[in-house]
């Protein structure tokens, strides 16, 4: 288990990877990726019991599903930095013939990815299926998912939420990136989610809330979530995050959802992010 200071260093490097990847190809989604960097680092470098010697079935290990696939840069960086594939491969992001597609896919057999995502709202159902398979297989490891808050506007999420509670999928820990931002503006203004805690509780889930940009608080929430597994209820962590976190001029609402920084903006961003593990 890594110390908090070490996790923060890793998160800083992951943020450098994100802005460099998106800048290099002048496309991608930096805002949500930066906002979720701390969650990914806490999960992959502390919480997940996983094996970078990737096996699709994932028997005997924790599984993670990214449902809001557009924040692929943060996932790719964390997978590479965890040893799933060579770090220099991050330089192929969104290039022709790359395994690092714009949105994650199994098609190119990138280690760490178990289902394609990008079209929103599908990951929770897939994770529930994987959790059901773990129960059938007598596998006591857990299944984790991440969703965007805007993604919760998809109806399939609530089909899955009902199913998970009804069928006591208690080996599942979901998380929502609550940054109140989607492409067209603030979630609150586009299609508000209302009282999200009350909604999930009404759907029969155990609900935790945390600051998603503070590693210590994230670790504590993830540990609490783990302690709630096996008690007949699925668990969800509502994480308050800042889109673009770590780069001051990107911490500006939904504007940086899906645009790439210029050369000058990249230099400015990198000046705010410590290089800790060596750039790819």
């Amino acid at each position: 288990m890594a110390a908090v200071a070490e996790l923060k260093d890793i998160a800083s490097q992951v943020r450098r990877d994100i802005v460099r990847m998106v800048h290099a190809v002048q496309s991608g989604h930096p805002g949500g990726s930066l906002g979720c960097a701390d969650y990914f680092v806490a999960l992959y470098f502390n919480t997940l019991r996983h094996n970078p010697e990737f096996n699709m079935d994932g028997k005997g290990e924790d599984l993670f599903f990214l449902s809001n696939g557009h924040i692929s840069p943060v996932w790719y960086s964390v997978l590479a930095r965890s040893g799933y594939f060579p770090v220099p491969e991050l330089g192929t992001f969104r290039h022709l013939d790359s395994r690092l597609q714009g949105h994650p896919t199994t098609k190119e057999h990138l280690p760490g990815v178990r289902v394609a995502s990008g079209s929103l709202g599908q990951g929770l159902s897939v994770a529930i299926g994987a959790a059901e398979a773990k129960k059938l297989n007598g596998d006591d490891k857990l299944v984790y998912t991440l969703h965007g808050d805007g993604e919760l506007q998809e109806g399939q999420i609530w089909e899955a939420a009902m199913y998970a509670a009804h069928n006591k999928i208690d080996n599942l820990i979901s998380a929502v990136d609550c940054n109140d931002a989607q492409i067209d503006g603030k979630v609150e203004n586009i299609l508000s989610l209302g009282n999200l805690r009350a909604k999930w509780e009404a759907f029969g889930w155990s609900v935790l809330e945390t600051n998603g940009n503070e590693i210590e608080e994230l670790l504590s929430a993830l540990n609490e979530a783990k302690s709630l597994t096996g008690q007949g209820k699925p668990i969800i962590i509502l994480m308050k995050t800042t889109m673009g976190k770590g780069v001051d001029f990107m911490e500006d609402g939904h504007k940086w959802h899906g645009i790439a920084p210029s050369d000058e903006q990249l230099a400015q961003a990198l000046s705010q992010l410590k290089e800790t593990l060596g750039d790819y």
Partner: protein
């Protein structure tokens, strides 16, 4: 096999062939699991559910979630048979199938009953005539439309052995059983029911029996009819089709589907690319269905025995 050897051994619905196949898989393959969206009885999955409750997943009326759960179950090594009516198994969940199943190359079997017009009185909301087209356009998807109880049961067993996504389409009405019990089903391998030289009839699903009847009438008039059952729409048995038309030089396709996107269109494309010859399509003419009995609907919408017969005559005349 020849037309004169065909023996009708009974009458049953193809969905019951699926139910019987699934139950047998329950006994023989511990990885096979079933999913259904509130239509367990209609899909004939009750016996499997009763015998293997821990391997059966009732999703409620939530088909998108069902497809996703099926995709996830494969990750633990399961072989999910996700079943509902054809309309809800394809059109309603196209994007879920596209991303979570086909693009992700998941070993999910999408099993669809009540396909086409012959579900009858429920009418056009449930009578999907576009599902073969939707499914065959997905890269990597195997598409199968068996013709009777025995063939559907055999196909159900066969797709469990195939690794990769499959769409298996069957239906509601009780139709003649005329293919062998305990047959070996070979995915992608056409079945020649009768050899002939004047015209080839390529038929799939419920239209195979109609084509048998039409071929019998044509042969009684002295024509020599090659009748081939294309149970696998994709991958298409191109060799069987090209070999046959090289001999007969004209063809008929017969299916319970819109002519756009169906078997006939696949055959037309193949012939255009490799060996053009006259092709008449017996299919629904780009319209929705309506309420009625299966027999009335097949007659009204031009997919009956008489339509196959007339199409064969037209094809021969065009040679």
């Amino acid at each position: 096999m020849a037309l004169k050897d065909i023996e009708v051994t009974g009458k049953n619905d193809t969905r019951s062939g699926f139910g019987a196949g699934l139950l047998e898989l329950g006994d023989t393959n511990p990885n096979v699991v079933g999913l259904c969206a509130d239509l367990t009885g209609s899909l004939k999955m009750d016996a499997f559910q009763k015998k293997y409750p821990e391997r059966f997943f009732q999703t409620g009326i939530a088909e998108a979630n069902m497809i996703g759960i099926a995709a996830g179950l494969t990750i633990g090594g399961k072989i999910p048979f996700a079943a509902t009516f054809a309309n809800f198994a394809t059109g309603r969940v196209y994007d879920q199938i596209r991303q979570s199943v086909a693009y992700s190359d998941k070993n999910v079997k999408i099993c669809a009953s009540h396909a086409g017009l012959t579900l009858g009185e429920d009418g056009a909301t449930h009578q999907i005539l576009e599902d073969l087209g939707l499914m065959k356009m997905l890269p990597g998807m195997v598409v199968i439309n068996p013709c009777d109880y025995n063939q559907t049961k055999a196909a159900t067993l066969a797709i469990a052995e195939h690794v990769g996504p499959v769409y298996l389409r069957f239906g509601r009405p009780k139709v003649p059983i005329f293919t062998p019990a305990n047959q070996k089903f070979e995915i992608g391998k056409a079945w020649t029911i009768n050899e002939g030289t004047d015209v080839t009839i390529f038929a799939t699903g419920h239209l195979v029996w109609k084509a048998v009847e039409a071929a019998q009438q044509l042969e009684a008039e002295g024509l020599s009819v090659e009748l081939i059952n294309i149970h696998t729409i994709k991958p298409l048995d191109e060799e069987a089709i090209l070999t046959s038309v090289a001999k007969t030089r004209c063809a008929v396709s017969a299916e319970e589907h819109n002519y756009l996107g169906g078997l006939g269109e696949s055959i037309a494309g193949l012939l255009a690319r490799k060996n053009p010859c006259p092709l008449e399509m017996v299919a629904v003419n780009d319209t929705f269905g309506e309420s009625g009995t299966p027999e009335q609907l097949m007659t009204k919408y031009g997919i009956d025995t008489a339509d196959v017969y007339a199409a064969a005559k037209r094809a021969i005349a065009r040679k």
